[in-house]
């Protein structure tokens, strides 16, 4: 089946994020691979997702889980071959699932041949492919991102006796985008994958491409110019592709990455995410309303990308100290849960395995404006292992069944790339796909139903949003509209039952139809519309005038 010719497909997508290594091991070496992922495409199609975002699968020393790339145009042998990837890609397309791959523009591994050449001598032709300096005093004041492990953004190279710039780990030297050769080389990399048929790129760490003295070395005009050039080239030669920006910035800074619709198609709304968690804990809609009121409009063809959790720590960079302290005190009481400026836990443990809260958070994710990203395993409520290093605790093997290695691999458990979660609450015996498939009311089946419902109504993906302002601050209510379709979403953020009166006079005469059970609710009249909601309950209503 050919993919639909739709240059706005990303607006309607439900994206599933996964690392091929974590998903399914087909050859019993303890590591997930592309043949294994190909075998599991049916599960993903059944779930209802329409796009996959794959974390880096390129050859790499794996000191940063693959974000330290040593070869951009190949596949790490542990995951398969380029042919395996092609097979997977075609199979995904056959199921109408698009594939977004990582493109780490900002830096390479120090094992990449480019860096090996660059550092070999100061006269090497590729010397200027990276950012070198005699001193470590340039670009003073630029914040360190991995504060738990790095002391400086400069690292000393004992081979060529100079410092090199790295915004991330010291084994990830930054490429020098002032060099046209670098820009061209990365374009060739993108072309390689575009020619193969990938549907889009998630551009990692994109704000950091360019450095300039006296700045934070983030969000510089030169960076935008580079991206716009890539976008122009992609639009010329490759229709229906998508660029997704990873720019962990304040909304007013992120919108510059959309340009005039000529730069990124999508960007993550990072500041919204922690505020969803805050709102549920505070039982107050204020954090969500405040951040969305501060979010400027974006070009018509662009889209925010929203998420609850991902492979990284739940970042608390875009919050104040007070908010960060609150998040730590409520969601990361054990210091082992904290890393850098964030929390390395999964959704279900953060919700204390409260099914209602998990549902509420997913309901918010799939009804708020933007393209939602579901992190692998969250659809079954997987847990985490905070005692694994770095952020590996949220990157454990997918739990398929209650058997050997959770059904992830036939290898000996000691051989697995990571131990499977095995405690009594979140362990694979308790939380796995197979048992949830058998239970009609499992979280997995509920998620399928939720995604399916969302997919039926384009109003969720492309509609406007208007927040209602009921006096009960524990209720977050909004109206989504697209053309003649109107959906009312009402969420109880509180742990106790709530009553709320909504001013729906504008919709007088409409009948609310609850979208999961399809039951009719009383017609909207002149008076405020009274609803009662159980703890953490939410409603999606179609408003129909009939």
């Amino acid at each position: 089946m050919a993919l639909r010719n739709d240059n706005l497909w990303y607006k309607d997508a439900v994206i599933y994020q996964l690392h091929v290594r974590t998903f399914y091991d087909s050859n019993a070496d303890g590591i997930g691979d592309f043949p294994g992922l190909t075998q599991r495409l049916g599960y993903l199609q059944e779930l209802g997702v329409s796009a996959l975002w794959l974390m880096p699968f390129y050859p790499s020393p794996l000191k940063d889980d693959g974000y330290d790339i040593a070869d951009y145009t190949s596949v790490h042998p542990s995951y398969g071959t380029v042919q395996d990837f092609k097979t997977f890609l075609n199979a995904a397309h056959d199921r109408n699932i698009r594939v977004i791959v990582e493109m780490v523009l900002n830096h390479t591994s120090d094992q990449h041949p480019w860096f090996q050449e660059s550092r070999s001598s100061r006269d090497n032709p590729k010397r200027d492919w990276y950012v070198w300096s005699d001193t470590d005093t340039k670009y003073q004041g630029v914040p360190i991102i991995f504060v738990d492990t790095e002391m400086s953004n400069w690292a000393w190279d004992p081979i060529s006796k100079q410092y090199y710039w790295h915004r991330f780990f010291s084994h990830q030297p930054d490429l020098n985008y002032d060099n046209p050769a670098v820009r061209e080389a990365m374009w060739q990399v993108m072309k390689f994958w575009l020619d193969m048929g990938v549907d889009g790129f998630r551009l990692d760490a994109v704000p950091n491409l360019v450095e300039r003295e006296g700045t934070r070395c983030e969000n510089l005009p030169e960076t935008h110019a580079i991206i716009k050039d890539y976008r122009r080239r992609i639009d010329l030669a490759y229709p229906n592709k998508m660029l997704l920006a990873e720019a962990n910035q304040w909304p007013t800074d992120v919108i510059s990455y959309f340009g005039l619709g000529d730069e990124f198609h999508m960007a993550f709304h990072f500041p919204l995410m922690p505020r969803m968690f805050m709102a549920v804990k505070l039982e107050d809609r204020k954090p969500i309303i405040d951040i969305l009121e501060q979010t400027p409009p974006i070009p018509e063809i662009c889209q925010w990308c929203i998420f609850l959790r991902n492979h990284d720590e739940l970042t608390l960079e875009m919050v104040t100290e007070i908010e960060r302290d609150y998040m730590y005190d409520t969601y990361a009481t054990d210091k082992a849960m904290r890393i850098n400026l964030g929390i390395r836990r999964r959704l279900a443990p953060m919700m204390e395995n409260d099914r209602r809260r998990i549902e509420l958070m997913n309901g918010l994710l799939l009804s708020m404006p933007g393209t939602p990203v579901i992190y692998y395993g969250d659809e079954i409520g997987m847990g985490d292992n905070i005692y694994l290093g770095d952020r590996n605790g949220v990157r454990t093997p997918m739990q398929w069944n209650g058997g050997w290695n959770g059904g992830f691999s036939a290898a000996d458990p000691e051989r697995l790339y990571s131990p499977v979660i095995s405690n009594p609450v979140y362990g694979y015996q308790a939380v796995n796909v197979e048992s949830q498939r058998r239970s009609e009311h499992s979280l997995l089946n509920w998620m399928r139903s939720l995604i399916q419902t969302r997919n039926l109504f384009q109003v969720f993906s492309r509609g406007s949003i208007e927040f209602l302002d009921p006096s009960n601050h524990r209720v977050l209510a909004y109206v989504r509209q697209l053309g003649g379709a109107t959906v009312l979403v009402v969420n109880n953020l509180s742990s106790s039952a709530q009553a709320v009166e909504l001013n729906l006079q504008r919709y007088k005469g409409h009948i609310p139809i609850e979208m999961f059970g399809r039951n009719l609710f009383p017609r909207i009249g002149e008076l405020p519309y009274l609803l009662t909601l159980g703890p953490y309950q939410f409603y999606w209503f179609r408003l129909r005038r009939i």
Binding site: M278, K286, I291
Partner: protein, 437 residues
């Protein structure tokens, strides 16, 4: 339609008719707020000019010091004809967002209700206390809508002892200029101290704080319809806390100037404050009749401050009013005071203005005789209280004359002597109080 509200202690159908009535709209607003940690009440009447600043100070305090708490600010209005309520609800909604954060973690609720068509501080406070009880507020404060000196630190200093230090009643302390707060310094404080045994300086003030537990206790008392409580409830609130065993303290807020709106009418001020004090003495006599001496109250910040500035307002006029009042109220004073006290009073009233002295001993004796006469209701109680006004003016003039060139320390020392005189003569009060009328 109004909903009946009943206290938690007495929810019986038979008592509904006597319960306070909170309007449907108010109840609906409170429902939306839900349980809170902090409730700050603002009684108002035609306060449109000043209430915005009050709200600003409260929200500033909350943003800085109570960021995680659930907060509601409740304005209870006595029928304002300016747009006090609108200003309260809309002023300074913080829309200027911080660069990388929010204005506050939680919604800070503002609830407003008009409790009547004429202002009554007692009704306003009753409403605030009822709201605090309904919302299960852990800590409460009442602040004046007309105090232009109110700052965020005032609110913080008022709330912190009850919210974070486990006290249950907080009385304010102020820095005043040497000629402000003289009624409190020369009469109310020394008398409250001697009678109730606690050195709480500002029992009749515009700001105070209390715990939710104490709020529930207030609500259960059957006094809200009494005129002394309707007019000046704060004295009764403080004295109730003292006499009922709640942990009381004082907290220094800052410099307090004279009220900007309405000024101070001496007759009304004495009528309300001293009338309330005498009424409280009546109500809590079993608590104070046996009490001897006084104890300090835990204090946050300086004990109090008298600033070495300001000027007295027209002392000559005050003296003239004193002499005139003593003369005109001759028969009334004769029925209140003993012969000896009355004679001495007439004696000083005939002195020259430059040499006038209204000594502590005579003043205290006279005040205690007034209190006893109030207790025995020798004449109409309101008339007794009003008859006190010329005596207070005399004392005031004497004080101004005596301290025209005194240092602040000398004034404070003199105030302390007055307090000790009240305590020394308390047996006399008890004797007169218990005497058969």
């Amino acid at each position: 339609m109004f909903l009946a509200f009943s206290s938690r202690a007495g929810e019986q159908a038979g008592n509904l008719a006597e319960d306070i009535l909170l309007g449907d709209d108010f109840i609906r607003q409170l429902m939306s707020v839900g349980e809170v940690d902090l409730l700050i009440g603002i009684p108002s009447y035609n306060s449109a000019i000043t209430i915005a600043q009050t709200v600003r100070a409260i929200e500033e305090s909350v943003h800085q010091n109570f960021v995680r708490d659930r907060i509601v600010i409740v304005n209870v209005d006595g029928g304002s004809t300016d747009n006090t309520t609108e200003v309260f609800l809309e002023s300074d909604r913080r829309k200027a967002f911080d660069r990388r954060g929010l204005t506050s973690l939680r919604t800070i609720h503002r609830v407003s209700w008009q409790y009547g068509k004429t202002p009554s501080l007692g009704m306003a406070v009753r409403t605030i206390v009822a709201a605090a009880d309904l919302l299960r507020a852990r800590s409460c404060a009442v602040v004046s809508s007309t105090t232009i000196d109110l700052t965020a630190s005032w609110v913080t200093n008022l709330l912190r002892p009850v919210h974070k230090e486990k006290f249950e009643y907080v009385s304010p302390l102020y820095a005043r200029n040497r000629y402000e707060g003289l009624l409190s310094r020369n009469l109310l404080y020394p008398m409250v101290r001697a009678i109730f045994g606690l050195r709480m300086r500002e029992v009749y003030s515009g700001e105070w704080a209390f715990s939710g537990r104490l709020a529930a206790h207030y609500l259960d008392q059957d006094v809200w319809a009494e005129e002394p409580v309707r007019a000046r409830p704060e004295g009764w609130l403080a004295i109730t806390a003292m006499c009922s065993g709640y942990a009381c303290c004082q907290s220094f807020l800052g410099q307090k100037g004279a009220p900007t709106v309405g000024g101070v009418d001496t007759v009304e001020a004495i009528r309300q404050t001293v009338g309330n004090l005498f009424w409280c003495m009546e109500r809590y006599q079993e608590h104070w009749l046996d009490r001897v001496g006084s104890q300090p109250v835990p204090t946050f910040g300086p004990e109090h401050e008298i600033l070495n500035n300001g000027a007295p307002s027209n002392p000559e006029k005050i003296f003239e009013l004193f002499r005139t009042g003593v003369a005109e109220l001759e028969p009334v004073l004769a029925s209140i005071l003993t012969q000896e006290t009355h004679r001495q009073l007439n004696g000083i009233a005939s002195e020259d203005a430059e040499k006038f002295r209204f000594g502590c001993e005579l003043l205290v004796r006279a005040l205690y005789e007034f209190a006893a006469s109030y207790h025995h209701a020798v004449i109409n109680r309101d008339h007794i209280v009003q008859a006190l006004v010329p005596l207070y003016r005399g004392r005031l003039y004497s004080y101004l004359l005596q301290h025209a060139h005194s240092s602040v320390e000398e004034m404070q020392a003199d105030s302390e002597l007055l307090c000790l005189e009240f305590e020394r003569q308390k047996p006399y009060l008890i004797e007169k109080w218990n005497a058969k009328s």
